[in-house]
């Protein structure tokens, strides 16, 4: 009997819940767009992407409350949640689905492809490898977006300029992160023209960091990062070990320079988001369809320098570099 009662309670609760959702109903208004944004994880770069996207849309005249309603969800790196999030958007017949980071973009594509809802992705390093675009960069369906491919050549040229005698550049990466592996391939491709050897060290999770740092720091002159989520998350370990050995660490984006990397030629994820927002605006205005719009790579990389880190390493940054920098940080956060 008890279970029956409990079942009854659960069912009535669920009815109550759906009723309460009805209360908050905002039915579709003519001329108003509904956009669902699914983000893979809470992560400064991805957060910046999302904020940039909203800014980019606003610049084009699409604003929350005015002519757009947004629903923002975060999958907390869980595939099951990601699936539920996009199911929800598709069921709601959203006018556009935005997916931030590779697994989200794939899930969004898998869920929305039968309904022809345009999907815009951002922060996907290699849309071709993720099968979101074909070899010529053409969309595989009603899906397009922006790639956060690292400006590897520019980064190597920066390393070479700041440390011309550095011959061995080390990279730590997580063996399960496909983005890192493709970035390392890029590094190896460009390194030879600078006379640099790329030395890599794989880890499987955060707990391997300390040991892996000790190991690789004995073999390299300079360290550089790729956009490896695990390594970036435990960046302080790498930085403190590298400091002991007086080895400079280059970052892969602005947040890492704030945290103690000496410099980077990095992406500004807010800019990337804005560029994505502008693409989305074009589609919302009906100027172009997502399936006819090739994915875009952010054109400009910006130079970020941390002068406090340079002081700690007894390195004097060339005035030329300081002048070129987008931003110079004088503290370590």
């Amino acid at each position: 009997m008890r279970t029956k009662k409990i079942l009854a309670i659960i069912i009535s609760l669920s009815m109550f819940m759906s009723l309460s959702s009805c209360g908050k109903k905002s039915s579709k208004v003519e001329g108003e767009f509904r956009i669902g944004i699914g983000q893979f994880a809470e992560h400064p770069s991805l957060d910046n992407c999302r904020e940039g996207f909203l800014l980019g849309l606003r610049e084009e005249g699409f604003e929350q409350g005015k002519n757009v309603t947004f629903r923002i969800d975060n999958a907390q790196t869980d595939g099951g949640f990601a699936s539920q999030i996009f199911d929800n958007y598709v069921n709601n017949n959203m006018d556009m689905i935005v997916a931030i980071a590779t697994p989200m973009a794939q899930m969004a594509y898998s869920r929305a492809k039968d309904k022809n809802i345009p999907v815009i992705f951002t922060a996907v390093t290699d849309p071709v490898a993720a099968e979101l675009a074909d070899e010529n960069g053409k969309p595989v369906g009603n899906i397009t977006g922006t790639s956060d491919k690292l400006p590897v050549d520019l980064q190597l040229s920066l390393i070479h300029e700041m440390y011309p005698e550095a011959k061995r550049v080390g990279i730590l990466y997580t063996t399960s992160e496909v983005n890192s592996i493709s970035s390392i391939e890029e590094y190896k491709y460009y390194a030879s023209s600078y006379g640099i050897d790329i030395i890599t060290q794989g880890i499987s999770d955060t707990s391997d960091m300390a040991l892996a740092c000790d190991n690789i720091l004995n073999k390299v002159d300079v360290m550089t990062n790729v956009t490896d989520n695990t390594v970036v998350a435990s960046l302080p370990v790498l930085l403190s070990k590298a400091n002991e050995k007086n080895i400079p660490v280059f970052g892969s984006e602005i947040e890492q320079v704030k945290k103690g990397c000496i410099a980077c030629m990095g992406l500004d994820y807010v800019e990337l988001g804005k560029q994505t927002g502008r693409m989305a605006a074009k589609i919302l205005k009906g100027e172009v369809e997502a399936k006819n719009l090739n994915y875009e790579i952010i054109e400009s990389a910006s130079l970020y320098v941390n002068s406090k880190v340079a002081d700690n390493l007894n390195y004097i940054i060339n005035q030329d570099i300081i002048d070129r920098a987008n931003q110079v940080f004088d503290t370590i956060s």
Partner: protein, 305 residues
Amino acid sequence: MDAIELLKFYFITPQEIIGILTGVLREGLMYSVASLGVYITYKILDFPDMTVDSSFPLGMSITAILLILDVPPILTLCISFIAGALVGVITGIIHVKFGVRDLLSGIIVMTALYSINLRIAGRSNLPVFKKPTIFHLEYFNFLDRSMKTILILLVIVAICKILLDYYLKTKNGYLLRSVGDNEKLVTALAKDKGNVKIIGLAIANGFVAFAGSIFTHDRGFFEISAGTGTLVIAVSNVIIGMQIAKRIKCISDTTAVIIGSILYRACISIALSWGLEPRDLKLITASLLLIILVMNSIKRKNKVA
């Protein structure tokens, strides 16, 4: 955070209700196959089998790579089952023959399989969007896509259930159930209880890998992180199912497990459509499980009193 709260909006339409229901059925049915496997280890053998968290992505990775090699979709399901069964045998051998504790032997195999899964797929994320899957088969074409998916899943789940029910009624199946209930009986029947356990683990992990395979067919890509938490979800499904089976006598345990999986998904969907954020889902999952377990123990105490 405030900005995001402000940006949120909730509404519900008939299409949304149908959409939610099909979503619940689809996810519930897919997980129910894994739950049938966990039913064997958790309920019948009383074995906390951590292998599940990696045999699930094993099924996913094998399916992804086989689809890329243009292996017929249905065959990928069978191969995944066999691969999962092999992994179950390994866990069983480590536990039974080498005397490693049950939990630990599962963890050892799970850890090793992480690397093996990466090896199989070649990388941590492998899309198969361009390949035909079981959901593209030329059956039930009169239905729309989501209905077709559910019908195909129903057929698969029904086959799994019937086969498992049939197996549990065979002599082997009776032995399997006795190992969990009364090990001495098995020994008294002059049977090796270790071997029975190994067979049980093999079938269980076969089902789990089979479920993983279905997931790749549905999602269209393999992702290494997808398996984490499978055990917890499947155990929750089994526990809910067992509560149903206890109350409603006319349905079998296996049917109850399938219903439990769907109910569990329904609870999560309700929580989500209520406006809870996906980030809170793990908390909801844990609370749901705790409530059911506590209800159970209170009931037991009342009975004793």
